[in-house]
Amino acid sequence: MAYPYVSDVEVRVISKYFGDPAHRRIDTYVERGGYKALEKALTLEPDGVTDEIKASGLRGRGGAGFPTGIKWSFMPKEPTRPHYLLCNADESEPGTFKDRELMRWDPHQLIEGCLIGAYAIRAQHVYIYCRGEFFEVNQILARAVEDAYMKGYAGEDILGTGTTIDITIHQGAGAYICGEETGLMSSLEGDRGEPRVKPPFPAAVGVFGMPSTINNVETLAAVPHIVLNGGEWYRQWGTEKSPGTKLFCVSGHVRKPGNYELPLGFPLIDLIENVCGGIRDGNQLKAVIPGGSSVPLINAEDARKCELDYEGCVEVGTMLGCASVIVMDHKADIVKQIRRMVDFYAHESCGQCTPCREGSAWTARILRRIEEGQGTEEDLDTLMGMTEQMVGTTICVLSDSVAAPVQSSINKFRGDYLELIRRGEQAGVA
């Protein structure tokens, strides 16, 4: 049973128990083989665990796709200072709703992943930075963490091995930018969630100035399965460069939106047409954003060619991101939706870097003007020119995320913009 919809082609590794309320309970989780991976990991050397993750080819599921095992191996091998594992559970990329499901249906899977990850990087403390709006998820997770402590899976002397790993849930307070790893660190330290310049990288100078690793919820959720079954086992799915399974969050104009766990490399059009039951109301596919609002959108033609892995998305001029597939049918108002996304980025920009602070708000204003029929064709040139100045010029990539939808939509759907502009001009003349 999956949740909320089911598909036969799914490969449910981390989402196996979505839709099963009993699985939230630690007894059920343990009965079903839970915490066995932790037991196994604690019999290995930390580097042995990291090697297994390296062998699996698991890549970070938060959007950047950096190989997890390699990231872990950046941590100092002989700790002289405290290490920290940070679990990024600040899910807030528009279109993304997988981490919330992972945490509310299978909290112990995440906790187990966190404990194994902490062991591998020689950290004695895990902070799960959970999005502030997730009151209910926080409460489910809180109970699970308490139970894990009570049963001896977390805290001092885990399972009698002498290993100590603490877990603390830290609840955010409403800021998208805290999902950026250095912004998260700033926020966890009790500061404004402003991203920091890299280098230094978190593995050298992370939270509280100590070596830190930050992993997404979905990444850590996959870890127990890989440790238990081996890296090679994980590679039976996916592609050479993008192994394993991935949760695809499908939203928008499909008949059956939801989370589907599929092997990487799955054809996008197959996901939309078959897994999700096609476009709703018998409408036509117009555009897809395959990786969450920060990646370029593609038209139906490119969508038909797109394979959903890190490389396949790049081939059609977009990115896999966190695999949040936002589907738009032929009735969708592209300009309005782009404007709404840019409003979001303008609202969420931390305000440090000038191109982002000024550029995102300026972009939003121009788009709103166009949407209201007050735009001109020169506005499109201005948008293209000024968003170009927002790419690669800032501390983090939020600014780039403004440029991506704006530029891709003007390139692929210029007609939609022109129609609004023409309509406005005609209304003005009349």
Binding site: P4, N138, I140, G155, A173, G190, C249, G252, Q337, F344
Partner: protein, 220 residues
């Protein structure tokens, strides 16, 4: 303390493909049960409730709240890191974070009041002024927007007779737009106080509003 369960016709996952109750999906038996003292220190920094009846004059960090505060402080190597959870505790009791509360928190954590103000204003969840008993946050970001979030927002405003961002005359409702709430597969998602309502359509709103009003009457 917690929100009273509501048979929301639009609760998430009502797809007809499986037979879970709303309580089972939400994890009813996990929710609304958190002790005020925060439980185990590992999870004391979570904010369990948003209270319907706020008391802007409530005493801060007393009794069980003081216990929770002490636990929170044990979880971080630096005192400042407790700032977000501590501000959340203030809001839990008082409903918003006033200048006076900021000053109090600054003193408590050895920070400057200006610093606390800077942090508090960075995060959207801290209300800088009082809000209604029910803070209705309608996601109008892309996935919900594609599926009619603007209509849901309009319906909420109409049903509660409020302007966007303003509090209704009876003090029951403040309706605002929210950014993506990470429930994109269940549009439109609406967060009301600490609870998510999913798959909300304009037709559901009179029932939801009626239910929320009833909660107020009960003095819950």
């Amino acid at each position: 303390m917690s929100d009273v369960p509501l048979k929301n016709p639009g609760w998430a996952g009502n797809t007809g493909e499986f037979d879970l109750t709303e309580e089972e999906v939400r994890g009813e038996d996990f929710i609304g049960e958190r002790p005020l003292h925060g439980g185990h220190s590992s999870v004391s920094a979570t904010m369990p409730y948003m209270l319907i009846e706020k008391n802007p004059e409530a005493e801060l960090f007393e009794g069980e709240y003081q216990e929770r505060l002490k636990k929170i402080l044990t979880r971080y190597p630096k005192k400042r890191a407790a700032l977000l959870p501590v501000l959340s505790m203030v809001q839990e009791l008082r409903g918003h974070v006033s200048p006076e509360s900021m000053d109090r928190v600054a003193e408590l954590l050895d920070l400057s009041p200006a610093y606390v103000r800077g942090v508090a204003t960075f995060y959207t969840m801290y209300n800088k002024r009082p809000v209604g008993r029910h803070l209705v946050q309608v996601c109008t970001n892309i996935s919900c927007n594609l599926c009619g979030a603007d209509e849901v927002l309009a319906a909420f405003l109409e049903c509660t007779s409020t302007e966007l961002g303003e509090t209704s005359e009876d003090g029951d409702f403040t309706v605002i737009e929210a950014e993506c709430l990470a429930a994109c597969g269940f549009p439109t998602c609406v967060q009301i106080n600490s609870r998510y309502f999913e798959n909300v359509t304009p037709a559901d709103i009179p029932k939801i509003v009626e239910h929320l009003r009833a909660q107020v009457k009960k003095g819950d």
